[in-house]
Amino acid sequence: MGIRATAVACLALVTMGCASAERTPVTSTAERFLSAAGEGRGGQACLLLAPEAARSLDDCEKQIVSVGLRAGAVRGVDVWGDEARVRVDGDTLFLHRFPDGWRVRAAGCEPRAEQPYECEVKT
């Protein structure tokens, strides 16, 4: 029984270990998304958006470049399970892991006290 209880703890630690291995692809997706949106490459930016987030914009390719997103230095990456948060200078992004890789599900996010982030683009 002790082995089982320990196994659960190890499983959780392994899960978190896997999460830390995901930091590189998460950061890469966030940086490519912000670069594309900031440099007017709306098509590329929309490909990196989660499908629900892309559908939330009437004309994704045009609207995503008009939101005012800009690439910046990465200040922090948190990955838990299939969800991630990337903080860059002046922006916070939330990402979700899909079968084909990480996609941005919310961008242009500002923290609010005791409430979810307020985001320019979200699912």
């Binding site: 029984m1 002790g2 089982r4 209880a5 320990t6 659960v8 703890a9 499983l11 959780a12 630690l13 392994v14 899960t15 978190m16 999460a19 989660a50 499908p51 629900e52 987030a53 948190d78 838990w80 399970g81 299939d82 969800e83 991630a84 948060r85 939330f94 979700h96 892991r97 899909f98 079968p99 599900r105 919310a106 996010c109 923290p111 979810p116 982030y117 985001c119 979200k122 699912t123």
Partner: protein, 224 residues
């Protein structure tokens, strides 16, 4: 082989029930998890991904810790407290650790007594409390596992809801951790209290957890 199974039928029966229930929980849990994933705009996961997820681990661990706590407390508290009329209790005036003669330790050991019961010093002390120690350790390990897996599951949900993740210290003082913990504890304590009290007045013929059918309600510490 047949005799081995018969001699261990009780343990084998519950181990099989445990495995079947865990398998059922994993299938039902994966279905519920995927429904939520799709609703939140995410993608469904495979069964293998679900059973290695923090969501499954915390659901399992929170139940384990409460079961081990229940047995740990029951083993310890029944040393000192009695319930008149209950087969789960010792008789009046038997409260406490009892004498070495009653416990068959040291010079009072009998042929076949475990070596550490015959021995003196720390070995006898440890063996005298080994059941409580084992249950207590299993409780603490399961509770720790619940906190670690719960942290991962909680932070995954926080991020999915566009909220900040928290640290381990923040999680073990959070309503989520204590809600998961206490909702399991209350049910265990209710079940124990029910068993202690109902067994005074009700019977299950042939069960060692019950008094004999004809035993008086006032009779304590008997089994049938």
């Amino acid at each position: 082989m047949k005799r081995l199974v018969r001699d261990n039928a009780l343990a084998l029966c519950f181990l099989l029930l445990f495995l079947a229930s865990l398998a059922g929980q994993s299938v039902a849990g994966a279905a519920a998890f995927n429904k939520e994933q799709v609703t939140d705009g995410g993608s469904p996961v495979t069964w293998a991904e679900y059973v290695t997820s923090s969501s499954f681990a915390v659901d399992v661990a929170e139940n384990w810790q409460s079961e081990y706590l229940q047995f740990f407390l029951y083993i310890l508290i029944t040393v000192w407290l009695i319930q008149r009329g209950s087969p789960e209790s010792k008789d009046r005036h038997e409260e406490g650790l009892e004498s070495d003669a009653e416990q068959k330790v040291g010079p009072h050991a009998v042929p076949g007594s475990p070596a550490w019961a015959v021995a003196g010093g720390w070995r006898r002390t440890v063996f005298s409390h080994s059941l409580g120690i084992a249950m207590g350790l299993l409780f603490l390990l399961s509770w720790l596992a619940q906190s670690v897996a719960g942290l991962a599951a909680y932070n995954t949900e926080q991020l999915a809801q566009l909220e900040d993740p928290v640290g381990w210290g923040g999680y073990v003082t959070s309503p989520d951790f204590w809600n998961r913990t206490l909702q399991n504890w209350q049910s265990e304590f209710l079940a124990v209290a029910s068993m202690v009290l109902l067994a005074i007045f009700l019977r299950e013929r042939g069960s060692p957890q019950s008094k004999k059918v004809g035993d008086p309600h006032s009779e304590t510490a008997s089994s049938g």
